[in-house]
Structures are given as structure tokens and as C-alpha cells.
Symmetry: C2
Subunit: 369 residues, 2 copies
Amino acid sequence: MEAMNFALLQNDTFLRACLRLETPYTPVWLMRQAGRYLPEYRETRARAGSFMGLATNVDYATEVTLQPVDRYALDAAILFSDILTVPDAMGLGLSFALGEGPRFATPVRDEAGVSALRVPDMEKLRYVFDAVTSIRKALAGRVPLIGFSGSPWTLACYMVEGAGSDDYRRVKTMLYSRPDLMHKILQVNADAVAAYLNAQIEAGAQAVMIFDSWGGVLADGAFQEFSLAYTARVLGQLKREHDSAVIPRIVFTKGGGLWLQEMGDLECEVLGLDWTVNLGRARALVGSRKALQGNLDPNVLFAKPEQIDAQVAHVLDSFGAPHVGAGAAAGHIFNLGHGISQHTPPENVQMLVDAVHARSRAMRNRPSA
Amino acid sequence: MEAMNFALLQNDTFLRACLRLETPYTPVWLMRQAGRYLPEYRETRARAGSFMGLATNVDYATEVTLQPVDRYALDAAILFSDILTVPDAMGLGLSFALGEGPRFATPVRDEAGVSALRVPDMEKLRYVFDAVTSIRKALAGRVPLIGFSGSPWTLACYMVEGAGSDDYRRVKTMLYSRPDLMHKILQVNADAVAAYLNAQIEAGAQAVMIFDSWGGVLADGAFQEFSLAYTARVLGQLKREHDSAVIPRIVFTKGGGLWLQEMGDLECEVLGLDWTVNLGRARALVGSRKALQGNLDPNVLFAKPEQIDAQVAHVLDSFGAPHVGAGAAAGHIFNLGHGISQHTPPENVQMLVDAVHARSRAMRNRPSA
């Protein structure tokens, strides 16, 4: 593959923080930052006609990915896409009913369904890789671009349930009663996710994130066996660098705070944390091995400016000073602990981003105690 | 109040385990054990006409509370009631739409609504206390009866949201933007819950449990301030004994595993744990101060008999031998990590109860290593 000659990166704060290098301030981006809370997103979405019309069209995907970067001083962009593109490419028939979540026409529920699963031809996901390249070009080096995928377990939840679930009864019934089938699904998913993320890296993604959105619904023991092990299998296959740049890998298990010590052994640079985790404790557990990303409750964005500022301070302070003791590394990427709500007032995001930058700069200029 | 002369307790295994005293086997009961998965429950429910018709009628409530105790060798009964009786008695107008969850006619959303809140006259909850006495008599000493309430925070979630929620946007917006209002609600709730549980104790409840079902949705910091502190306020007001018997107090925060160390300081005898928590680690953290209750994933009950047995063994083993080292206490109460699913095959519950009893007896007879 020939080099694509992308523009030089002007803001490397996010990438440096991933590698726990010093930064002049704490970088910030927001999960689901390109989304329905933005009027310009809703306008593009209306033009696209449908959610998949938006996600599968390179121009639309590029447009909405850049919208939050144009509006706010965010330190990273993240590919606009759906978490279920990979099982869709496996032939499960993804659709979005109006006002409902995603749905698969042919969920995987028996031995025959599992046996038929294959790592999909990555050409079926060309629209995603084309979007990555298009976005990377459109960013023109302003901030780095993050690619992403759902984790093998999270994809399996949707593939077996056929839709969202509040008790995960079908997928857990398979897990407990036919662990052999569950392991087969997860093996295929892991290899597919690895191929998918590597292709995003080749197309221009400068970091990749694995969303283990449903890892936290598993029992202790089951998490390690059915989620963590397959996240590790993905990580083991990922390109370490591309185009002479290191590609940081972020793993986020929603509700995974109890397993942080074990996650500290993953072959990745960053762990994402939800708001239930105390960043100081997390840093004490894994902070010498991993950068940490998170973890403001998105509902803080419904409060008043001074309260948003206070909660930003709380999160920054809980991580602690960027340099504690000689040789200690930095490594905090500010984010929410979950995707931003569609009901968020856009002006409050501005408040948040500015508060993170201003306060974290001030922390670095504070004389050390 | 005159003594009620209840029958002598024949099976005190549950109460002894709460107090971390030796027991011949690990006692077991199941959250929501009286419920829709039982055909006899559905039959009574049909006669009652509605859920509230069932919960507010002393005879029906007695009947359904005893159904699982009649069917299985459970070691405790739990009052059949709704978690929202207290806010209903505050005048919020509880109703259950068909096929939906609970709903309040007048949710608490502003200063006026909060100012109007009072600890309700306990006479409005007389039907609950009458049910407790009726159930205790009907049990005739077979197993102890557990009373319960929602936690102040969990009640507040429903009171502010007006119904169930998947993002807790309204209640968290109040928490972050008007913490003064949230604290007022929680104070009233805590005092109401304490009065409610004390009245259940006087009516015959032999242990009480506080369900902090939504504590786990809070951010670190907010949990301690808005949930834990008010659970502590309830506990501080509870009767320590009644009718010459100690009344054990159980606190269960779903998703609260990260705060176990702080919960270990609560003035209660038992901590309930969901399935994400490793019982061995929990025991190491708080096991010298608290008995532990939990924590099988209810979805295990959809697996095959030998798999249920294996998962029971996993939970018992993760807690560890009842006596580790000289003077170490017992203190495990087997339970699910959440309420039993309405889709559970009733025969699998039989499997579970028998497996817990047989395996935990065998553990006690094993020669120590």
C-alpha cells in the first residue's frame, strides 16, 4: 500500500497523553461527540434519510465526524460509524427501526448459525475504510483520528440477542449452557475485529479504541473468560505502528472497574473508565502501565456552568497532578464515562472543553507541594 | 405494643449466617423468589386483578410470600410488597400500567414538590405491617421473615424520574444542578424508610434489607454523598433488636462492588453483592466485619442441571471454606446477584437450592487442608 501523504499533525496532545508523555494540558474528546445533540448533525442526518444512509456514505460520515471538531477545541476526532458494521458484514442483516435501536434480521442462536459465521471479507467494509481516509484528509492534521470497533463480546451480545436487551438472557443462556458455541462466536469476532481495526489503521486511523460496552454485565469469572480473553486476542493481532507512527490502543469496558487490575495486563496503551471508578485509585492500580481515559458522568452536562466547572475540577483532581514524584508519567485523557446524551445543550460542551483545558493548564503551572 | 407470641423458629440458619455464626450448611434464599416464574403466583395474581391489588391485600401477600417456601427448601422468606410503597404513601400516586413498570402521577421535580414532601403517616402503610404479621404467623416458625425497603436514593430516582429510566437524566440533573433539593428529598426518604423498617420489625420482620438498586448508577463521589450517607442515616435509626432477638440488617447496592471498602463501615451485618464481584476478594476486604450475600447470575438458571451445579460450586468456592484459620467466621448467604427472571424454569430453582445445600454441607465435612 502506498503512503497516503496525509498532512502533518498539528495537535498531538491526545497521542502524547496516550503514551503517557508530558502535555501542556489534558486533552479532551467525548464519546459520541458527533451526534444528535448537535443541530448540524440533525440537519445532515435528515439529508441522509436514515442512520445507515449516514453511516455508509463517505461524504456524510466525513461531514458529521468534523462537526464537533469545527465547533469545539477538541483534541481528537473519532470516526463516525456504527458499532455493528462487522456483524452486518457477516450477513446478519442490520437495520434500524424508527425510534428503536439496531436489529439483526438473522440473529445467531444455534449450532448452524454459529458454524456459518466467518470473518467477513473486508471489502464489504470498504465504506468504513474510505470514510477513515476521507476524514483524515478533511482533518488536514488539525487533530488525530481515532478508529474503533465493538469488542468481540459486545458484538456477540447483539448477534445472539438480535437487538438490545436489558437482561442478556439469550446470550447468557448460550454462554452458560453452550460455552463451546459462545467461544466459537468470540473467536470469529476477535479475528474479524482485528482485521477491521488493522484496515482502519491502514486507511489512516491514528489510534484505535475497542468498545466493550457490555463487558460489565458479565459475572466475575465469565468476564475474564468471555470478554477480556477475546479483547486480548484482538490486541495481539493489531498493528503496533503505521506510516512510522505508533498507533495507541484504547480499551473501554463499561462497568469494568472491578477488573481494572486484570485489564492493566492488556497489551494496550489506554484504559477507558466510566464514572463509577475513582481515577486516583485507578491510577494507583494501573497508572504506571496505562494512560487513563474518562470519566465524567454525561449528566453533568445538564447542570449550570459553575457546576460543570466544579465537576471537571473534581475529575482532574481525582486523577491527580500530572507529575507526582520524580519520573512519574502523565497520561490522562479527559472524556465522559459514556456517550454524550442527545439532550445535551451544545453550549455546555463548550463550557466543558474550555474548563478542561484551562484547569489542566493551571494544574501544570501550580508550584508542586 | 404487646408481644405477639409467634411460633418458635425452627430454621435459624439464615439468621446465624447473618451474624457470621457457624451453620451446618450455607443458607439460601432468592431475591424476588415470590414472583411470576411460579405458576401458583400467576394464579394468585390473576385472582387479585392487579399488581397493587396483590401487594395491598394481606391474604394475597401472605399467600404469595409462602409459595416459594412451600415449594423449595429455602432458608428465609421475604415480605411480598412493592419497593415504591413509601413514596406512594407520601401522596405521589403510584400506578402500574399494563406491561409497563411503575409510574407516579405527581413526580417530584421542583422546589415546591420537594418542600411538600413529608415522612408519611405510617398508618397509610398499615397494609404492609399487617401483611408482615400475617406472613410471620403463617410461616409458623419454619424460616425467618425478611422485611425490606428501597434505599433513600433508589426511591428518589423513581420519585424524580416518575418512572423507570435508562439514563437517570432528570434525577441526576437535579443532583448536579440543585444538590440542595436532592439532599432534602433524601433526608425525608431516609427518615421515612427508617420508620417503615422499624414498623416492619415491630410487626414481626426478623431481618431487614435495604435495596439500593440504583446506587450503582452514581459517579464515584456522588455515590458516597447521595446514596451511602443516607443508607447510613437509615441504619442509624433502626431497632437493633426486638422481642429479645437481634435484627440483622442487609444492604445491597447493585453495581456497588467498587465501593465495598466504604460499605464495610456501614452499621449493618450483611452486604449483598451482585455477580460482578469476586466473593473471595470481597471477603478479604470486609469479611471480618460483614456477612456476604450473593451472588449468582440469575441467567445461570437457564442452563442445564450440571451447569447450574458447577456455577453453584463456583460461587461457594469463591467465598471459600466457611472456616479459614482459627477463629475465622462463617457468614455466606447464598442468593442471586439480582432478582430471579420471570422466565426461569421452576424446576431449575429446585436444582439450585439442593445444590447449595448439598455442596455447602460437603464443604464443611471436607478435612481441612
